[in-house]
Amino acid sequence: MLVGLLILLGFQLAGELFVVSLSLPVPGPVMGMLFMAVFLLVAKRGVSEYLRQVADTLLSNLALLFVPAGVGLMVHLDLMVREWFVFGVTLVFSTAITMGVTGWVLVRLMRRFERGRGE
């Protein structure tokens, strides 16, 4: 458990340092995720049990981790109320269209791509 957490924090730190030193616009944890994925794939030793345990615990409760930041919406409450129509319509339609287009394209291409390979 402790070793797993240490591995995650270690890769996060590596990601943060990399991003800061090159002043990239990408957040440190996302870079840390890339580093760890590359490491796990190159090392080819599979995911160790303690790492998997911590990762599963964090990821199965991922939704909880967004709550503290979400409560921060209250700071912008009056602005949201004032502009609710523009924000509401834009967010609802743009999010739905983006989700639909992405999924639709992926489903169609996966079918074609895999059929093309099978032949």
Partner: protein, 236 residues
């Protein structure tokens, strides 16, 4: 009564405990109501906690003093997304080209639809620029908005609302666009609703979650390169 309350409210522990209690209650309620997407646990938790804070006259900074310990775990959790990604790496290798094309389509659709709809509704330039990266995970979105000249402080809020809306809308979108494959569902959720969508995808299946995390990462990387480029092309 008053001094007793003030003593506890100033303590971070109270707000950690309350955040956990409220979230566990919201998750129970969500399950109890048959997983209806309008009662998404994150949405209910936020509403209940904002109501609690307003009723007790607590400001957000005081709340966050405690809640930051939960917030902190977002970092390691993001790194942990590499684990499911490696589990499904063989699947990813089979479909890398469709994934790449779908990513480009998704990112461009997100930017154009958000800024286009806001523009049609008569929003100002700064508001449009703030809305453009709304499907990207909040630390990246804030960085982009700072760079292209929107309102960074508002970007975080809009990104969160996008994530929650994504979860609420997902069942309808999947039906409308006939997206039945778990991998495609997860990928679409991560692309349009970043981490909150990815959390929702993990509820569908491990494969959906893995591709949600991947989509979130790709969306962030592509948008941070493409959006500043588009803005300078169209010259805001």
């Amino acid at each position: 009564m008053t001094p007793f309350w003030v003593y506890f409210a100033a303590r971070p522990l109270l707000w950690i405990v309350l955040t956990l209690v409220v979230f566990i209650f919201a998750r129970w309620l969500h399950k109890r109501l048959g997983g209806l997407s309008v009662f998404h646990p994150v949405l209910i938790s936020i509403l209940v906690l904002v109501a609690l804070l307003s009723l007790t006259g607590t400001d957000y900074d005081t709340y966050f003093e405690g809640a930051q310990f939960i917030h902190f775990l977002l970092g390691p959790a993001t790194v942990a997304l590499a684990v499911p990604l490696c589990d499904y790496f063989d699947r990813l290798r089979q479909i890398w080209l469709p994934v790449l094309v779908a990513s480009l389509c998704g990112v461009i659709t997100a930017i154009i639809s958000a800024s286009g709809i806001a523009w049609l509704l008569g929003a100002g330039d700064k508001t449009i620029l703030t809305l453009a990266p709304k499907s990207v995970t909040s630390p990246i979105a804030i960085g982009i908005v700072e760079k292209i000249g929107g309102y960074p402080s508002m970007a975080a809020g809009l990104v969160l609302m996008t994530g929650i809306l994504g979860c609420v809308l997902a069942p309808f979108v999947f039906r409308l666009f006939r997206i039945e494959d778990d991998v495609a569902r997860g990928f679409a959720l991560g692309m349009s609703a970043h981490g909150i969508g990815t959390a929702y995808a993990f509820g569908i299946s491990a494969a959906a979650g893995a591709f949600g995390g991947l989509a979130m990462g790709i969306a962030g990387l592509l948008t941070s390169f493409l959006l500043p480029l588009l803005v300078s092309l169209f010259g805001f």
